[in-house]
Each structure stands twice: as structure tokens, then as C-alpha cells.
């Protein structure tokens, strides 16, 4: 198989300061040899908060997302994958993240999308702070409960439940 790559590299991972287009992310992974696209979109859920502040270590997060993307391509035979994650201040309903994956068949697309999402949550340098009527609170999965404000400590299970998505 020689000849030009019909799919030149695109922007594959991005920490975005502004809102992004879901359609563009999905279009970016479509290919003629793909029969399936799976997209996950995480949004800010109304948990009695006013806003969600996303802080990122942009360079490190993009580096990690690129590595996760490569792993998913190799492991699940994905044809394309795009990850866009917001930073900055978001309101209820705003999009936090999109993970869009294409594959020949549905199973790879579902499994690859899920893998990227789980690894992103675990490994990418991204932090969330809930801002609500009662004040501010960092969401730190697996973090030190002592970091939570008094009276706001929750078990890991409960804290996991707090994550959007």
C-alpha cells in the first residue's frame, strides 16, 4: 500500500478556551472506510451549581491526550479520533468535552470512545471547580477528603457521581 495518505493529519486533540462545534468534530473523524462514528459529549449538569471552572495544564494535557488517542487507535483499530476539552468558566448545559471516534464497525467505535474518555478522566491535567451558592469546591476524584471544605466531604463513590458525565 503506497501512495499519498488520503487523510492528512488534522488537529486531533485540543484544549479549547472557547466553545467548540460538535458537528465539526464529528465531521473530522468521518472517513469513507468507516461505517461507525461514536461521539461522547460531556455537559455541565445542574447539580445546584452556578458554574463550573475548568483549569488545565494545557501543554501537559494535550500531550497526554495525544498519547491516549494513539493508544486507542492501536488498541481498538479506530480509524480517527478527535478530543476537544474546554477550559475556562462554563455554565449549566455547556459542553465540557467531546470525544469523537470512527471505525469500520460499531463495536470498535464504542469501545475506543469509552477508553479515551476513561483515560482522559484519569490522566489528563484538567481540574474542575464547582461554583455555587455555598461557595467554591474543587472536584478531586480520589483526592484527599481533607481538601474538601468542612461538611462537604463525600465518599469517592459520591464524588465520582459529581462529575459531569
Amino acid at each position: 500500500m503506497t501512495g499519498e495518505d488520503p487523510y492528512p493529519p488534522r488537529r486531533q486533540v485540543l484544549i479549547a478556551e472557547e466553545g467548540f462545534s460538535m458537528d465539526e468534530a464529528i465531521e473530522a473523524v468521518k472517513r469513507d472506510d468507516a461505517g461507525a462514528v461514536v461521539a461522547f459529549i460531556g455537559t455541565v449538569r445542574d447539580d445546584g451549581i452556578d458554574s463550573l471552572h475548568l483549569e488545565t495544564y494545557k501543554e501537559a494535557a494535550e500531550e497526554e491526550l495525544l498519547a491516549i488517542r494513539e493508544e486507542a487507535l492501536a488498541r481498538f483499530g479506530l480509524l480517527e479520533a478527535v478530543v476537544i476539552h474546554r477550559s475556562g468558566r462554563l455554565r449549566i448545559g455547556d459542553e465540557i468535552v467531546i470525544v469523537a471516534c470512527s471505525a469500520a464497525h460499531r463495536r470498535e467505535a464504542f469501545d475506543g470512545c469509552r477508553y479515551i474518555l476513561e483515560e482522559l478522566k484519569r490522566r489528563a491535567s484538567i481540574w474542575k471547580k464547582e461554583v455555587g451558592p455555598a461557595g467554591e469546591r474543587w472536584l478531586e476524584v480520589g483526592g484527599d477528603p481533607a481538601q474538601a471544605r468542612p461538611g462537604e466531604e463525600r465518599s469517592h463513590e459520591e464524588r465520582d457521581g459529581l462529575e459531569a458525565g
Partner: protein, 92 residues
């Protein structure tokens, strides 16, 4: 020698976003963290277990590389290194 320190999220609120620290030649990552902990209340318990190890979900990077894959807290710093202190992540 000057070391550039970056902190994020709850650690940034304790330490400030970034700063240059002047430490002795031959200092390790552990030495730097001890200095920071002694001058910033709350940092020590947030970064370290009681036995002095770095907490499981806390990540320390030297020049954007995890110190786990270097020599941990014993990793020796060099002039101009960047050390980043990351609390547990929660993206997605």
C-alpha cells in the same frame, strides 16, 4: 540555582500560579517540596502521606516528566528546571 515552579487548581490556590525559587545546587525535588511546604500552610498534608510519600493521586512533573519515571523525590534538580505540582485530576 533557579527552579521554575508551577502549580494548578487547589495547589495553585495555596502556592500561586508560578514562581521562580532559588535553591541550593544539588537540591532534589523532595528538598524543593519541603521548602515550599514549610512556607505555605496546607501544602504539606495535601501533597504528602503521613509517611512522607507523595499521595497516590498527586503528580509531580520535572520538565513535564513524572518524577515516578525518574528517581522520585530523590531526583536531582538542575538550573532552570521546571517543577509542576498537580493535584488529583478530574477532567471529562
Amino acid at each position: 540555582m533557579l527552579i521554575h515552579v508551577r502549580a494548578f487548581a487547589s495547589f495553585r490556590e495555596i502556592l500561586g500560579k508560578e514562581k521562580d525559587m532559588d535553591v541550593d545546587g544539588g537540591s532534589t525535588v523532595g528538598d524543593l517540596l519541603d521548602i515550599l511546604a514549610s512556607s505555605h500552610q496546607g501544602l504539606g498534608p495535601a501533597v504528602f502521606e503521613e509517611d512522607g510519600r507523595v499521595r497516590e493521586y498527586v503528580i509531580i512533573l520535572r520538565n513535564r516528566e513524572r518524577i515516578d519515571s525518574l528517581e522520585g523525590l530523590a531526583t536531582v534538580l538542575e538550573e532552570g528546571d521546571e517543577v509542576a505540582i498537580l493535584p488529583p485530576v478530574a477532567g471529562g
